[in-house]
């Protein structure tokens, strides 16, 4: 799951190394428009629909946080 998340993140913002960093939102690596694209691509890749009330910055700060969010929303 981690590899797929990183692959999607790299596709959205190829200028950053998401495998080595955290603080994706607080460090400005992702903005709110990136989140919309990210959620859309994660939904599609994992066959889920991330709950709208879960689309909060703290759930997208690291690969681990995104993985937890996906598991919470039913990804396997």
């Amino acid at each position: 799951m981690k590899n797929k998340i990183i692959e999607i993140l790299n596709g959205i913002r190829p200028e950053f190394d998401f495998s080595e960093n955290t603080g994706f939102i607080s460090q400005g690596m992702l903005d709110s428009f990136d989140l919309i694209t990210l959620v859309t691509e994660l939904d599609e890749a994992f066959g889920i629909s991330i709950d709208g009330t879960d689309i909060l910055p703290e759930h997208f700060e690291s690969v681990e946080a995104i993985e937890s969010l996906l598991v919470k929303n039913g990804a396997k």
């Binding site: 428009f33 990136d34 919309i36």
Partner: protein, 355 residues
């Protein structure tokens, strides 16, 4: 505020859209995005084309008048039958007088016809319906014209990627009348003024008149370039508010009326963008095709006018011969969120025209 009405019905709906069409690709170079990012965003949000007035002389009043002329010229309504006009807008013709009174004068309506302007945005159709239903409870009021009209495109900076790709202009006229049908009309309207500035236009009112200073461009923390005369939208806050409050409201209305969400044929919601609406459909637990989200991509978000537009665009002719149970929901500026569940159908007219 809980809403419970009966013996009221919508008998006609007309939307008026500007004939001028602007494509997303024509403006995306304004937004300081890479082309790849813009195109990904286009797919997720549903940006394609929008209908906006071609010049800064055309107002919401002009679109409304084009619709009224169409209704009168085609004998779809006669002046003598009108008892009240509600004009719901955030782009009125003047600070004073009320735009509804200007309409009253233009068509030389009888002095008994009540005129009322309401300053409301994204929930403006639901607020207007509620006001119309309350007016119809008064003896002597049998037909209300609800006019939703907004031309907000001149209030949006062309360099604001939060707002400019999605804002459109439109007007709609909805006829509401008393009826023998006692099917329940249920709903609720809620407000949270603590979030009033989540969507705002800082300058142009009494607090901050338009001046040279308010007309200077600045760049916000997200790279959007605008002046204080332009619309500001805190998109993240609005998104979270909508995802939390709207599903909760719909569930409460359905539960308290001992109904079932499966009995609702269509969810005709305000149209902020496709992403938000698809997330709402998933959260509420309804199929995405029962909650159409195709207005932003075809016409743009015209604030309080989007509910009539989504209704007419998706169900237009069918509503002239069939009846559906629908859930109208509007949410945004205020913050305001309102929902009405009612039967809609067998309309005298349900059309979309261009001016």
């Amino acid at each position: 505020m809980k809403l419970n009405f009966k013996n009221k019905k919508i008998t006609g709906m007309l939307s008026i859209l500007p004939s001028n069409e602007v494509m997303f690709e024509d403006e995306m170079h304004n937004y300081s995005f890479s082309e790849a990012k813009s195109l990904k965003l286009k797919a997720a949000m549903g940006f394609k084309s929008k209908r906006v007035v071609a010049d800064d002389k055309t107002t919401g009043f002009d679109l409304a008048v084009a619709g009224l002329d169409y209704l009168f010229d085609n004998n779809l309504i006669n002046k003598e039958s009108i008892d009240a006009i509600l004009f719901v807008s955030q782009s009125p013709e003047y600070i004073m007088p009320p735009t509804s009174n200007v309409i009253h004068g233009r068509y030389e309506l009888d002095e008994r016809v009540l005129c009322l302007d309401i300053n409301q945005g994204c929930a403006g159709f639901v607020i207007g319906l509620q006001q119309a239903f309350m007016l119809l409870n008064n003896a002597g009021i049998n037909k209300v014209l609800l006019i939703n009209a907004d031309v907000l495109s001149p209030k949006v900076s062309k360099f604001d990627r939060n707002s400019n790709p999605l804002i459109g202009d439109a007007a709609a006229i909805t006829i509401i009348e008393n009826s023998n049908d006692d099917s329940p009309i249920v709903g609720e309207i809620r407000m949270d003024g603590k979030g009033a500035m989540a969507l705002n236009v800082p300058a142009g009112g009494a607090r901050m008149p338009i001046s040279e200073e308010t007309s200077l461009y600045y760049v916000d923390a997200f790279g959007n370039k605008r002046t204080k005369n332009h619309l500001v939208m805190q998109g993240d806050n609005v998104f979270n508010f909508v995802q939390t409050k709207v599903p909760e409201q719909i569930k409460n209305i359905v539960d308290s009326s001992e109904d079932n969400i499966e009995n609702i044929d269509y969810f005709l919601f305000h149209q902020p963008n496709r992403f938000m609406l698809q997330k709402l459909a998933d959260k509420i637990g309804v199929a995405r095709d029962k909650l159409p989200s195709n207005v932003v991509e075809n016409f743009g978000n015209s604030s309080g006018v989007t509910i009539p537009v989504v209704t007419i665009f998706n169900l237009g002719q069918r509503l002239e011969s069939e009846t559906f149970k629908v859930c109208f929901s509007g949410f945004g500026v205020g913050l305001t969120w309102g929902t009405i569940i009612m039967n809609l159908g067998n309309l005298d007219f349900c059309k979309l025209i261009y001016k």
